[in-house]
Symmetry: C2
Amino acid sequence: MTDPSALVADLTLRARTAARILATLPTKTKADALRAASEALVAAKAEILAANADDMTNATRAGLSGAMLDRLRLDPGRVRAIADGVAAVAALDDPVGATIDETTRPNGLVLRRIRVPIGVIGIIYESRPNVTADAAALAVMAGNAVILRGGSEAIASNRAIHAALVHGLAAAGIPADAVQLVPTTDRAAVGAMLTADGSGGGAAIDLIIPRGGKGLVVRVQAEARVPVLAHLDGINHVYVDASADPAMAIAIVRDAKLRRTGVCGAMETLLIDRGFSDPHGLVSTLHDAGCEMRVDADLSRLMPDLARATEADWDTEYLDAIASAALVDGVDGAIAHIAAHGSHHTDAIVADDAAVAERFLAEVDSAIVLWNASTQFADGGEFGLGAEIGIATGRLHARGPVALEGLTTYKWVGYGTGQVRG
Amino acid sequence: MTDPSALVADLTLRARTAARILATLPTKTKADALRAASEALVAAKAEILAANADDMTNATRAGLSGAMLDRLRLDPGRVRAIADGVAAVAALDDPVGATIDETTRPNGLVLRRIRVPIGVIGIIYESRPNVTADAAALAVMAGNAVILRGGSEAIASNRAIHAALVHGLAAAGIPADAVQLVPTTDRAAVGAMLTADGSGGGAAIDLIIPRGGKGLVVRVQAEARVPVLAHLDGINHVYVDASADPAMAIAIVRDAKLRRTGVCGAMETLLIDRGFSDPHGLVSTLHDAGCEMRVDADLSRLMPDLARATEADWDTEYLDAIASAALVDGVDGAIAHIAAHGSHHTDAIVADDAAVAERFLAEVDSAIVLWNASTQFADGGEFGLGAEIGIATGRLHARGPVALEGLTTYKWVGYGTGQVRG
């Protein structure tokens, strides 16, 4: 089967059938199956590493960058970590079947909103082969069937991981079609997934989650005809208010920018209240730690040796040891700057003044707003969700870190005794 | 301004500014403003009726059908009902600001999920002028700005209602741009709304809700580049199990089909367990009440005078006094039929056997599933939501009747004391 549309139609029909079975499986069945899949991954370590060696050889020959090769590379420890991750998902609380709320109407009709799986989820990702197992485990635990489309450079690794996963799941009685891997590297298959709304002969993909760089997310958002859960940018701000404790501000700003510069929760722009006692110290702490600073006109007068920020800097996610910085007129200035330049991901205020902080938390329109904490907490694990399948900056369904609950929806279940509207 | 893209870009930018103000307004301000808008509608009754008379004259001249003319027509009682509807929304519980859940992490970081408005909502609707007020009131009460695009045949009525609404809202201190009416009947403006993702010079419309016939919903779903909350079809089933009380089954089936045949919650297909005692009586009760019955081969043998259903009948939403009917092999047969032909709207089972009913409720994948109750309860008011802006059959964000809560999303708010990830 080489026609990508027919291929994806077949995958979606199989996934829909599996999804109907998964939707009503007891928690224990799903958890047991994930533990079996985890053990199967450990048992298949040799095959997975051999497949990964093939991918690494091809990728090296193709001239992939060192950073990309590192993302692709597996070793015994990384395979063990992948298996442990799958087992950890099995230990999470199952959201499916929970009652969100319940009401009894005057006519005696009892109405419950019950959590149910979304159905069929498509994951489109790049070079990290661990996503194959991580994403599949989360989707299955929330009762969904998943269609995985990894990067072509990782195809052998992904196939080996997928084979082990399915072997474990099937041994525990979960349909093999619960987790399918698109068996081609043809990019047209991605297009077919993005337009799988059920109108073209196959079944619908209910949700697409892209996991990868900005290029991938831009393509997915531009082409998708089905709902997408994603974040494009993390242009995150830390605003240091005049009322901030200077030592706390320095600690938070350093962590937010420099703990890891390549994560989507990293601070990109530092906003300092014109009334703050020591803007020089705050900017210096980053600069002295090796962070390239790009500053506005006001800060430039204080620190003339630093590079000047251009307009484009305020809209740039560096994902590197670079930050822009500006003086603003109090919390209003910070809110206005973030409204103009933020990406609705994660923004933080450092302040002692509770009224000021509450205004920031209420008025900054981001998925995550933090008071006196580092933006690098933007992570499902840190939020107590156990894991995350991604971070969403859209406004519907789920915002911020998305884990099991974000992979469910609800239905209304009504219990009557013969009620008619009449 | 005649370029529809530039027009919609301007509307979205104004709406976004208004939305930022609306997002943090206290409940009392919003409720007072809606009560003022309700009073303004009553005060403008003469202008609204005069405008509606113009619309009716044009529509009659254009040869609109009697049903469409009835939808368009206002009289003093209908204007009063519109005003009362706006006042009733003011009395609903405000979902904004509510804490969905809260957790304290081991590091002391307190995380709350707080309900916030979605932002900017576009409503695209057809001839009923009451939607102008209903939709605006719900959107504003949930803290959203709204852009309304009504049918061209109702443009004068909609303008008069909109003018009264804005007069009332503005008098109570709500920005006039909270409720905007697209001032042109150019259909290209609808296209510009459906693609308003913020990339084209304007701000984004966060959610589009179409209110109208299937043609409108099809167009909106096909063209939209922004999220849509809608239902396309209500191909709803009542399954009568062998264990059903026959008298209850007759009462529910009659109500589900015939109480009102033109509503999206009406039953279109009757499924009868092969083991049910009196299929003949069930079909006859509809047939004798004037409902055209289209039956499968099995029922045709019992009742040879009835029309035979074609394959297309199982996929048809009649919205009329017509129903299809089939015998099925118990609850499994019913579940399989609904999976093949249903539209994920509302399906009901009549049964005394609780185990059978629970299987139906769990396995039928519809926004609303009911046990021993009529499908005609599919309505926000009947669900205790106070009102509804529509019914959604998609799987994300909100399913079934959508009211104030469905017009909100959430943000994560974190309270720290200097936490860094380190």
